[in-house]
Subunit: 344 residues, 2 copies
DNA sequence: AACGGTTCTGAAATGCATTTCAAGAGTGAT
DNA sequence: ATCACTCTTGAAATGCATTTCAGAACCGTT
């Protein structure tokens, strides 16, 4: 029934190579339904038959053909995770944050025995996502780190495609988004600055991204009348561009005594630029980064930062998506953030 | 035939919701085979029928049921990428290197229209991988960043499961591995040191990993009689443990005038530890890291490092795997590495 | 011994697309 | 008008597991 693979790591694929449920049924002297029931843990079979069938199946290395199975069932038990690799490829990956999020999602799916189909964000109009559902490839989608693709997502939501998004939470959007409480993140940074007695704050980040804008808003809220706030923005916001922008700024402006950077990478750039202008943290200014990337703790000085709980985030994203797939509804949520105080 | 999804992002799932090829055939007044031929670009159909069928299909948002399709065909056009998330989860992710590799693989698969099933490395004996093949879920595997799982891989190879591995290339192993030319990497670092006139070298890394051992070997080879070589090892080799180990070492040993670190992260730790002992690069010593992580260029001082071509690596891994899946053979290859000279 | 009630098992229908093989339609040649 | 061909098209078989429904086997009752 099954051909022997040869030594060279290469299986001969004769026509009837694979074992089917019918084969197992025949070999075990039972019928297909019985085999099916055994394999699916149905309580309707006798312990004796169960053991016997299991033995035969295992002896022949039989595994249920998942395609036939999925063809018959409504569920595919597969979720597609859409990642924006492209934005990373050229400019390399700035933050390992998305990777951690992916790990969290992968773990949560694995616990539920759901497969993870990974794909890169397509240029697309969303039609390809619809097709994936129609083709019964996946039950739903998790979008990670899409910057600004709202129109497509809105359309997808209208079509009834089950999906969840990691990103800014906006109650007006018709889909379920999960994201850190960015407003709180900004506030936490602000309160920390107040406690340190800082009064001339700077925010580094590009408000074009909803998530970053909210961090900015949180900081503004915390500032109130107690502090002044300047903003440093550049299009790209990589390490290098942040460094340059800050250097330029310091050339003809007074230095801030507190900096809140939208990412730890930007925070490191800020520290370097400030040091070169003679300003040392925490002596001359306080600084808070974002994401708590592994290296933030190792940097000299160790960076005070806002942590987003990636593991929890993955679990919640998956939970919400499953609710949608089960035909329920799921509303957006923000996840708590936490200030991790280090040297800066 | 198709129900309207309602406003709430939630499709009603009535029994006969989905459109099948038979439906399209009926609606287009042709037979199933004709629809199938149209959708698969067969040249056997008239241009007129082709257009008509395509129009009907698109009008009804029809997409071929991939499960039925895969059930019929021998190929699944899906590859499983196995990643060692677990090693990252607890201790967070040290290097973004694996992520870049993943991006390279994802891109290469996407070009070939092959789906990517992402999974975390299981404790497993390899049985689960065999089952994935038997269950016709995937055609083969790509293992990324497995440290030491050779016995399992050897077994898998003997079973004829198509797979490729990113890692140390050992011609004695019965499977196809793709990896950087670590020996060359070590040599490049050594030659660089020689050119700088350095004579008292240090290698930082744990030889338990085959890849790292080869970098060590390459360095040793370059040293020849021209330089002395000490080795600094710790079990874990994170930033912190590397930093501590080097600090301890410097307390009662003379400082090296050249350091080759197995990773850029370790290189940063080394720079910090050395600086605190009063040794500044490149004034007092030369340093070469590994992987060219994005931050290596941004660090102060900018780190000289060895680059592994992740994008190319992804493409090669995929190419080799496809050869195996097509029933051919594939032998292991090493990919060129490149020294990127920066400040250190 | 006969009946009602449980348990367990199997035959057949079902989900959907691909492929083989044969037949139909159309063209040109004789 | 007929034969030989080439193009297109369709009926039916196939791949495999799940589910429904009916039947078999067995138990305890009366």
């Amino acid at each position: 029934m099954v051909d022997q693979p040869d030594q060279n790591g290469r299986a001969k694929r004769s026509r009837s190579m694979s074992v089917s449920m019918a084969d197992i049924a025949r070999l075990a002297n039972v019928s297909k339904p019985t085999v099916s029931r055994v394999l699916n843990g149905s309580p309707l079979v006798t312990e004796a038959t169960r053991k016997h069938v299991l033995a035969v199946a295992s002896e022949h290395g039989y595994a249920v053909n998942r395609n036939a199975q999925k063809l018959r069932q409504t569920r595919t038990d597969t979720v597609q995770v859409v990642l924006d690799f492209a934005s990373h490829r050229g400019g390399r990956i700035a933050d390992p944050f998305i990777f951690e999020l992916l790990a969290g999602v992968a773990e949560a799916l694995s616990v539920r025995n759901v497969d993870l189909l990974l794909s890169s964000a397509r240029k697309g109009d969303g039609r390809s996502y619809q097709d994936q559902i129609a083709a019964r490839v996946v039950d739903g989608f998790i979008f990670l780190g899409q910057g600004e693709r709202d129109p497509m997502l809105r359309k997808l939501a209208k079509l009834g495609v089950p999906f969840v998004v990691w990103g800014a939470v906006d109650p007006d959007e018709p889909y379920c988004a999960v994201g850190s409480d960015n407003l709180l993140g900004g506030e936490l940074a602000g309160r920390y600055f107040l406690k340190q007695g800082r009064r001339r704050w700077m925010f580094i980040g590009n408000d074009a991204h909803a998530e970053i804008r909210m961090r900015h808003d949180g900081l503004t809220k915390a500032a109130g009348d107690a502090a002044t706030l300047t903003t440093l923005t550049s299009e790209e916001m990589s390490y290098v561009s942040t460094y340059r922008a800050l250097k330029d700024h310091l050339a003809d402006h007074p230095a801030p005594d507190a900096i809140f950077a939208f990412s730890d990478t930007a925070a490191m750039a800020a520290i370097t630029a400030m040091r070169e202008a003679g300003h040392i943290a925490p002596r001359d200014y306080s600084l808070v980064g974002y994401n708590n990337i592994p290296f933030a703790a190792d940097f000299t000085p160790a960076i005070t930062t806002i942590e987003q709980e990636t593991h929890l985030a993955g679990a919640i994203l998956v939970e919400k998506l499953m609710q949608l797939i089960d035909g329920g509804r799921a509303n957006s949520t923000t996840l708590p953030t936490r200030l991790i105080v280090r040297e800066t």
